[in-house]
Symmetry: C2
Subunit: 251 residues, 2 copies
């Protein structure tokens, strides 16, 4: 829905034309876009201009370069992540994972889990009302979809609350961490999600296999039990090109 103006530099106009062709489905996911030589011939521009046009589509997350093969429409349909329905008690109370509703028939899988006991980072200790350096159970997971890493999740829980439960194990059992918190009498009753966007740190870019120039979405989710105790803080880092976050709510 952006407006194009006549004052745009040439490379931006070429990029806008390619973008419109992708939006209209003339180039689908995985399709190769016209190369530099094609664009030079078609638009009568210098190689640098053609390269800038293709570069712009890459920083917008629409296309990605494959070494030696050209520039391709990113072969990725975004995941619709419903913040509110997704976490409804009906869902995780039934032994389904928090993520199952997001992806239709595609399988979002955890390809690495690390569980550790560690001192609380200052920000988490603050939210939980704990002393800095109080012990936390920390669960670090990476989620992949169609073989592509899309989400890094770091979940922090009070160590004393979850001691000797499956939460301290890689496999937490049906329904996951929230079902186990419910078993303990601390079912989440309220959530807060704080959402930001920024460029990835180098470690995040590598672990999410992000093309250069693609930002991440960062979600800090805080889970409160019925008494208002913070029972989990989950810091998530998402490939921005892989996700649409949806929040539905009453006025």
């Amino acid at each position: 829905m952006s407006r194009e103006t006549g004052r745009q530099p040439k490379y931006q106009r070429i990029a806008a034309e390619l973008r419109a062709a992708v939006d209209a489905g003339r180039y689908g996911p995985g399709d190769r876009l016209p190369g530099e030589n094609d664009l030079m011939a078609e638009h009568g521009v210098a190689r640098m201009t053609a390269r800038q046009a293709l570069g712009l589509l890459q920083t917008e997350g629409i296309a990605e370069a494959r070494k030696g093969a050209g520039v391709f429409v990113r072969d990725f349909r975004p995941i619709r992540r419903r913040g509110i329905e997704r976490l409804a008690r009906a869902q995780w109370g039934e032994g389904r994972s928090v993520w199952s509703a997001d992806i239709g028939n595609r399988e979002l899988a955890v390809d690495s889990v690390e569980v550790a006991q560690e001192p609380a980072p200052a920000a988490v200790a603050g939210v939980m009302g704990l002393d800095e350096n109080a012990d936390l159970c920390v669960r670090r997971r990476r989620f992949v979809l169609d073989g592509k890493p899309v989400l890094l999740s770091t979940s922090y829980l009070p160590a004393d609350l979850v001691a000797d439960t499956p939460i301290t194990q890689p496999d937490t059992g049906p329904g996951g961490v929230y079902a186990r918190l419910a078993d303990l009498g601390h079912a989440p009753a309220r959530f807060r999600e704080e959402v930001r966007s920024r460029m990835p740190g180098p470690d995040e870019g590598e672990r999410l296999a992000l093309p250069s120039g693609v930002p991440v979405v960062q979600i800090a989710r805080t889970a409160f039990d019925a008494e208002g105790r913070v029972v989990e803080v989950n810091e998530m880092v998402l490939d921005s090109a892989a996700y649409v976050l949806e929040y539905d709510f009453e006025a």
Copy 2:
């Protein structure tokens, strides 16, 4: 909360150190960070390494370069935008603007308003169940905070619904568009917000005065009345470094 490893390249370690110093408040908003010469002397590195470290902080939105003057901590506290409380009927029913809760004592101001009647873009027509090219009232606004543009908002409303009301005027009166929709018997009863992040298009980067390498957050908000009719689609583009989006909800 990111982990730093010993395997990091030198420029990343220097950037991590500067980032930690900003987080700890040793450099506050608007403060000048050490320059390339300072970092070269302090860490015994080449100019390129010092430059890469400072460049990384810029792409993360933590710092910005000012021509000839150095690299400075971005002078901007993020706006906390509450998706759910913010839109509560209690608020806009009382003649307060949707945005007033976000910013404490700082003034978020509209510095440009354009109202036009235009044919519906395909995506908006689809959501509204209208024919493509059906007429819409389109309100384009830019919001600035502390003199810095932070938000571009494009609001689409069915032209027949809002004809001859203040919604077609730049100034919609107390309570804004939602209060006027309520006057018409079409008060918003339910909202959907869809959130994405991406790099800005060139036009957006210019209108938001974004430093290079800073992504935008894109929110598409759909407002439904009590009968389920879509009464507004609002597409917002936010400076990602200026906003934290907050959503609070029951489990």
